[in-house]
Symmetry: C2
Subunit: 411 residues, 2 copies
């Protein structure tokens, strides 16, 4: 093994401490105090490993090792460093740590690349603060307009641009990345599902990433006193929302083939025990490996929601995110498998049930992803855990692949 497992564990451990909910998992929202702490840690390590560090106008962090070829595109390794509320220490972070470790290996082994190597740490993949998800990667590929970005606000009404200023990220830094400057993007991620663990295989080479859409549904009713409004005169937004949510699982299971549907966020207004709710806003997240399933569920869901429009209830639905299923680059997949073979690390092909920044980049550059097992298949919770030896295996595979892609030579 080449990768330093102890160093990897130390990075994971250190970054897990930058959480707003100590003892209750990692809560690291974009542009928060904890983002700043993790950001400083990542930048410091990048500098230690000899990288030139920059931030773009979204706060995405880049650590670059120049290549010998003039103006050549970069081979990029990394992932995101934000988390869901009360999430785990590995989702996103693991891929950033692998990037750091690849840089450390280049330095330790005196590797000089022909094509530049860039380690990247992305913001707001989860969408936990500003909604929608994949903001860092979408932003840098020009899929988020300056105008839309300036309007982004969290649930407390704090604008993204103001939150950035609080942690000294400069929104005036360049935002859009020219795809011509990218040769490839490699991301290690935890599987966040049970398949690799059940198979007892430590590496999954990702073939396709599921398509996903995220809707925000608003149910508007009419407030009233819980004691004095007769049942037949109510327009209770929460009862309507509950009827919708209770029916969601059926929409996914009817579709089958691994189609999943989730309401993860729901807020009730005004949320007082003795007031009939006049508004409920909730998300619906739909995913499938086949685009037709996603589209079918959206169509059925919208029809079902529209049925609630009676007795003073008004519903509206906004699609906040739509990404079609993506097949990852065949050449990169081959390189990753060849590296695994060479290193004698068992692997299998796998599909990703979760969305990843690689989905966004795959429209612009050759992308590859490596999965490692998640204990009990759990993710987005404090119990999320992956074995450091699997992280080290994944690092070795990515290090081998990056050396080939950057045409690196030992000095």
């Amino acid at each position: 093994m080449t990768a330093n497992q102890q160093r990897i564990e130390q990075h994971i451990e250190s970054l897990s401490r930058f959480t707003a909910t100590p003892g209750k998992g990692v809560t690291r929202l974009t542009y928060s105090e904890e983002d700043l702490q993790a950001r400083n840690y990542i930048k410091e390590k990048m500098m230690n490993y000899g990288l030139r560090v920059t931030e773009d106008g979204f706060g995405n962090i880049f650590g670059k090792l120049e290549g010998t070829l003039p103006d050549a595109p970069s081979v990029i390794v990394g992932s995101h460093f934000d988390s869901v509320p009360n999430g785990g220490a590995y989702d996103g972070t693991a891929g950033v740590v692998v990037g750091l470790e690849v840089a450390a290996l280049f330095k330790e082994n005196n590797m000089k690349p022909a094509y530049p190597l860039e380690i990247i740490a992305l913001v707001e993949e989860e969408g936990s603060r500003f909604g929608g998800g994949l903001m860092g990667s979408r932003g840098m590929m020009g899929l988020l307009t300056e105008e839309d970005f300036k309007k982004l606000a969290d649930r407390d009404g704090i604008l993204a641009v103001d939150a950035m200023a609080d942690i000294w990220v400069n929104p005036a830094n360049g935002k859009k990345r020219d795809p011509k400057t990218m040769k490839a993007f490699l991301e290690l991620h935890i599987e966040q599902g049970p398949i690799l663990e059940e198979k007892g295989i430590q590496i999954g080479v990702v073939e396709t990433i599921v398509g996903l859409t995220q809707l925000e549904v608003t149910v508007q009713g009419k407030a009233g006193h819980a004691g004095t409004t007769p049942m037949d005169r109510r327009s209770d937004a929460l009862v309507s929302a509950s009827q919708i949510i209770a029916a969601l699982p059926r929409l996914a299971t009817d579709e089958g083939e691994g189609t999943v549907i989730t309401t993860g966020r729901l807020n009730v207004f005004p949320n007082g025990a003795n007031v009939i709710p006049d508004k409920v806003v909730f998300t619906v997240d739909i995913r499938s490996g086949k685009e037709e399933h996603v589209l079918n569920v959206v169509r059925k869901l919208e029809a079902f929601i529209a049925q609630q429009n009676c007795h003073g209830i008004n519903t509206s639905t906004e699609q906040q995110l739509y990404i079609a299923p993506k097949e990852l680059d065949a050449d990169i997949r081959s390189l990753l498998k060849e590296a695994s073979d060479k290193l004698e690390i068992p692997y299998c092909s796998i599909n990703s049930g979760a969305g990843h920044d690689a989905m966004v980049f795959s429209d612009f550059t050759a992308c590859g992803m490596v999965f490692i097992p998640s204990k009990d298949g759990l993710s987005h919770c404090p119990e999320e855990w992956s074995d450091a030896s699997h992280l080290a295996d994944g690092t070795d595979i990515i290090y081998e692949t990056v050396k080939r892609l950057t045409e690196a030579k030992r000095l």
Copy 2:
């Protein structure tokens, strides 16, 4: 008319400005900045009207006009001055304002009572901050132990005793009121329902107050990633909670006779768009004029909730409040009706669908309530509105009744 309608309007208007949500109704949570502003206003007016002002250890405000009889029990007039989130300017506040106006009339007309007159402004009737409701009245009647009070915290984990300290209310002040010091309690309140308006009658003399119970239901499931957890392996706390809430209206309509059931507050954890919710906590408020209906619904609800305990879902239910239906004092009802007759103000008998502090006091002293119409029957919303002339009518009736109960004489 004796009461000064303009002064009443001014009090309502002034107090409505002490809100955390300007332009979006009155949000005046107990021990908040807005509580302090309203508190200072009420205390100042009490002093202007010649009352001796004290606060008890819960922050309930008392303005006392001594009587000529030594050690005689007080005739108390008032209501609460907290609000629900985004509520109206009349719920509770109207009764406090009527109390202030009765005191003003005593002063203007040089009335000297034999029994003391006390104007009272109570905290936390709504339970919007610390849950359960009727805290001020229950506390002062010894129905809330010092131990339980010290444990009370809002949803942000702020203890009631700490919040009190922030607005300089002294928890060391006396808490328990000896019932022997109370001769009667009179409360004017808006109806919060459509009956008086539909009948075109401006005064309702309350016969009974509905029984009510408030439960807090916790549904515990298991968090997981929204994309990678197959539908058949989920323990989604929000889907379970939604199945329960969607079924609630049926429980009330099956029972009939005006039985109502409401989930007003619901919180999802961790509340991230791409995380399967692992916990949902919500309130269930059940009310009926007949105790058997309340008990039936609770029994059926608990059985239904228990049915959800499968596939990794665990539910628990805690009864936070139970109050049996209460009949108000027959003698006081007669006095109120006699006063209405004498003043030639039309009235009718009515039952209260909402809980009130008078429910609590009615176990300890003779209680009477007067309702005035609510525009469109609305309450607990910014549109809540009552006519100032009806408030003045109500004040006149209560002023007449208080004069008789205190055996007041013009000096």
